[in-house]
């Protein structure tokens, strides 16, 4: 090997920095980063595989069409829980979505962020988004006491708790969607003589709908998996009739799963595993819908 070629190669190495990127330390570091990135995914795969295998024997129509049964553990079903979760979802959305969008629109389009009260709202929202979900359960208990409803474990109470819980999420994502609408659209509308509200209602909000829908669905998918606030409201894990109205006692899928997991009978454990897969499918379905809406309808300006 001649001196000239060695020098040339060294020059190339120094210029591209390749040798330094390929030192043992660097490669180990990169490997560790890869590991941290995929560790979570590995856990998720193990979780789903383990649960699906345990629940494999229970993927039958009885799982979703029958009520829970203590006498026939191998035929126990989650009809009440699935219907209860869907009802909760509906009323949670009815309460949280209009309020959340209104608050977000105020903060983005009307509020002067230099004012002290608007800044309090701002900090408060960030804080609310991180309040433990179980505390929202206690708040909903107090709200129910305030409006004088003593019945425990009903649709209304659960929906209030979940609506309070996802309100900050909806506000934060709606604000991002509204903020992404370019300023020129507002100025064009205002220049034509529209008021701020007309501009917001006719220009900004329609453009922000995909972002708002995505945020709302993600918020609801978080709500559907929550059990802790519903436990505070006294939702029972065994209800053997369909929900009939706002005052109807219900159960929810996560609550039924929680109820069964403390039961040591194997048939119940398998049923709980199958119910977990049902719950995960619902949540992943909602997430997929959110991603679909985002990719399909979101405009880049």
């Amino acid at each position: 090997m001649s001196v000239a070629t060695t020098t040339a190669r060294d020059t190339v190495r120094i210029a591209t920095g390749k040798s330094r990127e390929r030192s043992t330390g660097s490669l180990v570091f990169l490997g560790l980063l890869w590991f941290s990135l995929f560790f979570g995914v590995m856990v998720l795969v193990v979780l789903i595989a383990d649960t699906a295998i345990a629940g494999a024997g229970r993927f039958d129509p009885a799982l979703v069409t029958r009520y829970d049964s203590t006498l026939f553990p191998e035929r126990t079903g989650f009809r009440a829980g699935i219907l209860g979760s869907l009802w909760l979802m509906l009323f949670t959305a009815l309460m949280a979505v209009p309020l959340g969008i209104a608050a977000a629109v105020y903060l983005e389009e009307f509020a002067d962020s230099r004012r002290w009260y608007n800044r309090i709202i701002e900090v408060n929202l960030q804080n609310l988004a991180a309040v433990p979900s179980i505390v929202y359960g206690l708040l909903a208990v107090a709200v129910m006491a305030l409006i004088g409803i003593e019945r425990k474990g009903i649709v209304l109470g659960g929906a209030i708790a979940l609506a309070l819980l996802i309100l900050p999420v909806i506000i934060i994502t709606t604000r991002e969607a509204v903020r992404a609408v370019p300023e020129e659209i507002r100025q064009g509308s205002l220049a034509l003589g529209a008021t701020t509200w007309q501009t917001t209602w006719r220009q900004v909000l329609p453009s922000a709908v995909p972002g708002i829908a995505t945020g709302t669905i993600l918020g609801l998918s978080r709500a559907i998996g929550e059990a802790a606030p519903l436990l505070m409201l006294g939702l029972a894990s065994s209800v053997r009739f369909d929900p009939e109205g706002l005052m109807s006692p219900i159960t929810a899928l996560p609550i039924q799963i929680y109820g069964l997991s403390s039961n040591s009978q194997e048939a119940f454990q398998d049923a709980a595993s199958a119910a977990i897969i049902v719950l995960l499918v619902m949540i992943l379905g909602m997430n997929a819908l959110a991603i679909f809406i985002r990719n399909k309808f979101q405009r880049s300006w």
């Binding site: 570091f29 105020y106 433990p132 505390v135 949540i283 997430n287």
Partner: protein
């Protein structure tokens, strides 16, 4: 932040903004003002919720302390029915285990996404990491009881742990908060100006050195905010610890033992038969207020840290 800040000087916004400097063609618009007021009320609702939480928690707590001596609540005695410190130490144990898992993994994932991944790869990798946040906590709890404790801890690692133990709960809790830490830390890393990296490369540093010695220190307050928010999540998480950590008050710091956390106590108490207004029912709120106070302080620290790194660049 608000659009009105930069557009405020324009004449067209005068209608919606009382007190705007120019009032060209400004008419009284009652509907407009009413709508603005309604929107303001919706936004203020978030403040009302916070106040509502405080009132909702404080009132039963006053009743509670009328019946139970303050010393019985703030007590380390495991045998006392109302002692809160054994619950707090248990929360600390599970939280510390969770952070030991989630901080390195979350920061590692964030470093890869921000410093190594191409823009296209990031588009697919980020939602994958965030998928972990979508799994309901009751599912994680079930997984901890059905898989982590019997298979991983007892069979594979051969640890002499019971059916419920703090270790399994903490480990799974850690997995749950990885996305929280990864996502916020990635924001912090991405906010570090490109010029700092270029300077580091120009000095002959490689990617690893740049990441660890330039980007990480520069993003430190944002990284701290991410960790603190993860901590808050771990403290407030309920279902995993209720299912996996156990339901006995235990002052021990040994993670192999079962112990009841604050949230675990609340879930168990609410699930049991406790008539509204009874002392045991009010304990729920006393512990709830303690939990809210702890997470409130943690969240405020996180918010302050985020503000600091936003100001820096």
């Amino acid at each position: 932040m608000s659009h009105n800040n930069n557009a405020g000087a324009g004449p067209s916004l005068g209608a919606g903004l009382p007190g705007a400097p120019i009032s060209l063609g400004r008419k009284p618009r009652p509907v407009e003002s009413a709508i603005k007021a309604a929107l303001f009320v919706s936004a203020m609702l978030s403040v009302a919720i916070t106040i509502g939480i405080l009132v909702a928690l404080v009132e039963p707590v006053i009743h509670f302390f009328a019946e139970v001596p303050v010393g019985d609540f703030f007590s380390f005695d495991e045998g006392t029915r109302y002692a809160v410190f054994p619950l707090i130490t248990a929360t600390m144990v599970t939280t510390v285990i969770a952070l030991v898992v989630a901080v390195p993994l979350g920061l590692g994932a964030a470093m890869y996404l921000s410093e190594y991944a191409s823009r296209r790869a990031r588009k697919y990798l980020k939602p994958t990491v965030e998928l972990l946040a979508g799994v309901p906590s009751v599912v994680y709890g079930f997984f901890a009881v059905m898989f982590v404790t019997p298979t991983l801890l007892q069979d594979v690692l051969g640890l002499g742990v019971g059916f419920t133990n703090a270790l399994a709960a903490g480990l799974v809790l850690g997995v749950m908060i990885i996305p929280t830490i990864a996502s916020l830390a990635e924001d912090a890393f991405s906010a570090v100006p490109q010029s700092l990296r270029q300077g580091s490369f120009a000095m002959g540093a490689n990617r690893m050195q740049t990441t660890l010695r330039v980007v990480l220190p520069a993003a430190l307050s944002g990284v701290a905010a991410a960790i603190v928010l993860g901590l808050s999540r771990a403290v407030g998480e309920t279902m995993i610890v209720t299912l996996a950590a156990g339901s006995q008050r235990n002052l021990s710091l040994n993670p192999l033992e079962g112990m009841q956390t604050m949230t675990g106590f609340m879930a168990t108490t609410a699930g049991g038969e406790n008539p509204v207004g009874s002392t045991s029912y009010n304990t729920l709120f006393a512990v709830g207020l303690t939990l809210f106070a702890i997470t409130f302080v943690i969240n405020m620290i996180s918010i302050a840290l985020v503000r600091r790194y936003r100001q820096a660049y």
